[in-house]
């Protein structure tokens, strides 16, 4: 198992190499002269030349790429033109809302998805199964950002129960933080709960067909004991993997949800950076979220091996 874990950790290196390369190439995908685009129409030719040299865009591509790798390794993501501070600092300031939103949405997705899927899978063909799976089908198809808007209209505008948008730090005012977080977390987590429910259901169905379940039933155990005591743990193994995928989707979705609810996180940061053509910030947000995703997947793969001793990668 140690050999597998070491290999799994090392496998992160080529993935991150590609990620950093793609992030680097973003600047070169700008149509025309990137420097002219960055500086806008009022820039003089001498300003353009100065900025080109400052960004290193006058050097050959492979040299620029090498320099970019070195900078990223040193934790230097450049300087924001507009915010006038290092990109890493701007990212750090905005990381809390995005992390909290992703985490709360994940909790919502698990809390709704896992029990519904397991119940549906434990009683296939029952009324519960049909209702839950129909809800899950719609849940998969409803666009999260649109669901957010409908939640805002219903719970904030019409009923006035919860704020329509905004953010409070959980470290400053936990009560307010919770009120602000409910609608974004539920609307972001709902889609993924549907996905988790579908997977959990099929895992439960599969486990219930195994021989050891038949044995458990044959020795006279009740349905409840069989499901909770015998089937549950094994059905949860693939679900853990799905939760890993879910986290990645949630990080992407959080960006969109932040715009709907005016949450000052990485999503708001990248969208405002695009409008200001503040490319180092755009690159920084993309790089950090991809790195977070790679890390989450690593943790999930490691957990997967630890939970299920049957799995051997040799």
């Amino acid at each position: 198992m140690t050999a597998y874990l070491v290999r799994r950790v090392l496998a992160v290196i080529p993935v991150m190499l590609v990620v950093v390369t793609v992030v680097f190439l973003l600047i070169h995908l700008i149509p025309g002269d990137p420097v002219a685009v960055i500086l806008g129409p009022d820039a003089t030719p001498s300003q353009i030349e100065a900025t080109r040299a400052q960004l290193g865009l006058d050097r050959p591509l492979y040299e620029q790429l090498g320099a970019f790798y070195v900078r990223v390794l040193r934790g230097d993501l450049g300087r924001s033109y507009f915010l006038n501070r290092p990109v890493t600092q701007a990212l750090w300031e905005r990381a809390e809302p995005t992390s909290l939103l992703t985490l709360s949405a994940l909790l919502v997705a698990i809390a709704i998805g896992v029990p519904s899927g397991l119940i549906a899978g434990a009683f296939p063909g029952s009324a519960w199964d049909r209702v839950l799976m129909l809800a899950a089908l719609f849940g998969v198809c409803i666009p999260g950002f649109w669901l957010s808007l409908n939640f805002i209209y219903f719970f904030a505008v019409r009923l006035g129960w919860l704020p329509a948008g905004g953010y409070a730090s959980v470290f400053v005012d936990p009560g307010a933080a919770l009120r602000y977080m409910v609608l974004p977390a539920v609307s972001l987590g709902f889609n993924q709960s549907a996905l988790i429910a579908r997977i959990a259901r099929s895992c439960m169905l599969e486990v219930l067909q195994q021989d050891y379940i038949r044995t458990a039933r044959a020795k006279g155990l009740s349905q409840g004991v069989v499901i909770v005591g015998h089937a549950f743990r094994n059905a949860m193994v693939p679900v853990v993997t799905v939760i890993g995928i879910t986290t990645a989707v949630l990080i992407g979705g959080a960006v969109v949800t932040e715009i709907v609810f005016n949450i000052p996180g990485l999503g708001r940061l990248i969208i405002s950076a695009i409008l200001r053509r503040d490319y180092p910030v755009v690159q920084g947000v993309v790089l950090v979220t991809a790195a977070a995703y790679v890390l989450v997947n690593l943790v999930v793969d490691v957990l997967y091996v630890l939970i299920d001793p049957r799995i051997r990668y040799d």
């Binding site: 990620v19 600047i27 993309v286």
Partner: protein, 281 residues
């Protein structure tokens, strides 16, 4: 399912309720897009400020938006952008996925490099990579299609690769090689036909993702330009007036949901019919 061997795949598809329901929903969207000029009651581009934010009525089925544009006509015309982006992205990702997947699965030397690049591209949350590519390229339908194709091609390539790997060492492929067939001919005649089923299933899901992602990009203001009637753009406008006029964002979102539902049903049904190995019990 009593005599699966004796019915053709077309008959099996026609008997699958998911496929029929999904196709019906998709057909409704296609018809709306094809006959948008007839189905729409107003010019979606016509601004009429005195009539702004009117609730749904006989004159304006789904109300008007903040510029007095007719929401029904916007939704009908918006289906064109959605279908164009969805369909083109699906075709481009299928083409790219087949080329890369075959090259990786069949040409063993390329496998390692190609798959590391695909892994790397899939390490980005999909919507964020699309946003980043749009940030570099700027707004426009062509750029949306480009961005979404880059984002979704790796997923198809991985699928084709694994399908190819499952077939590559079967006896009939060895037989073809023993008969002196060239690699390219084997790939085209013996490997590719086996990829059609998975490709159709994956294609309908990518179609659905692409329509959704296009709307998200439009909603964020980095998709098709704001003057183009697209579902995402109309929902974005509706966000600003949600307190006074819920209908502006409600109806284009409903169209988006139903299109996604249609394509997901189609994909689920195709998977059950064409590829029993992938069947979820």
């Amino acid at each position: 399912m009593t005599e699966p061997g004796r019915s053709t795949w077309l008959q099996r598809l026609a008997r699958n309720r998911s496929v029929v329901a999904g196709l019906a929903l998709l057909l409704a969207v296609v018809l709306a897009a094809a006959f948008a000029g007839v189905v729409a009651t107003h010019d979606p581009a016509r601004l009429d400020p005195p009539k702004r934010l009117l609730p749904p009525s006989v004159e304006h089925y789904l109300g008007t938006d903040e510029f007095g544009r007719d929401v029904w006509s916007l939704v009908v015309h918006g289906s064109r952008v959605s279908l164009l982006v969805g369909l083109t992205t699906m075709l481009l990702t299928s083409l790219g996925g087949v080329v890369i997947g075959l090259a990786a699965g069949y040409g063993r030397r390329l496998d390692l490099v190609l798959m590391r690049v695909m892994d790397g591209l899939m390490a980005f949350p999909a919507i964020l990579l699309a946003i980043a590519l749009m940030a570099a390229r700027g707004p426009g339908v062509g750029n949306v299609i480009f961005a979404l194709s880059v984002v979704y091609t790796p997923r198809t390539a991985m699928l084709i690769r694994s399908t190819v790997l499952g077939i590559r060492d079967l006896d009939y492929v060895h037989a073809a090689r023993a008969l002196g067939r060239r690699d390219l001919a084997i790939a085209a005649r013996h490997i590719l036909p086996n990829c059609v089923g998975p490709l159709l299933v994956q294609g309908s899901f990518i179609f659905a993702y692409a329509i959704l992602a296009e709307a998200i990009l439009g909603f964020l203001g980095v998709g098709v330009p704001p003057y183009v009637p697209s579902w995402g753009n109309v929902i974005a406008g509706g966000k600003n007036v949600i307190r006074e006029a819920f209908w502006v964002s409600l109806f284009p979102g409903l169209a988006l949901t139903l299109s996604g539902l249609g394509l997901n049903l189609l994909g689920d049904g195709l998977r059950d019919t064409l590829d029993p190995r992938l069947r979820v019990p």
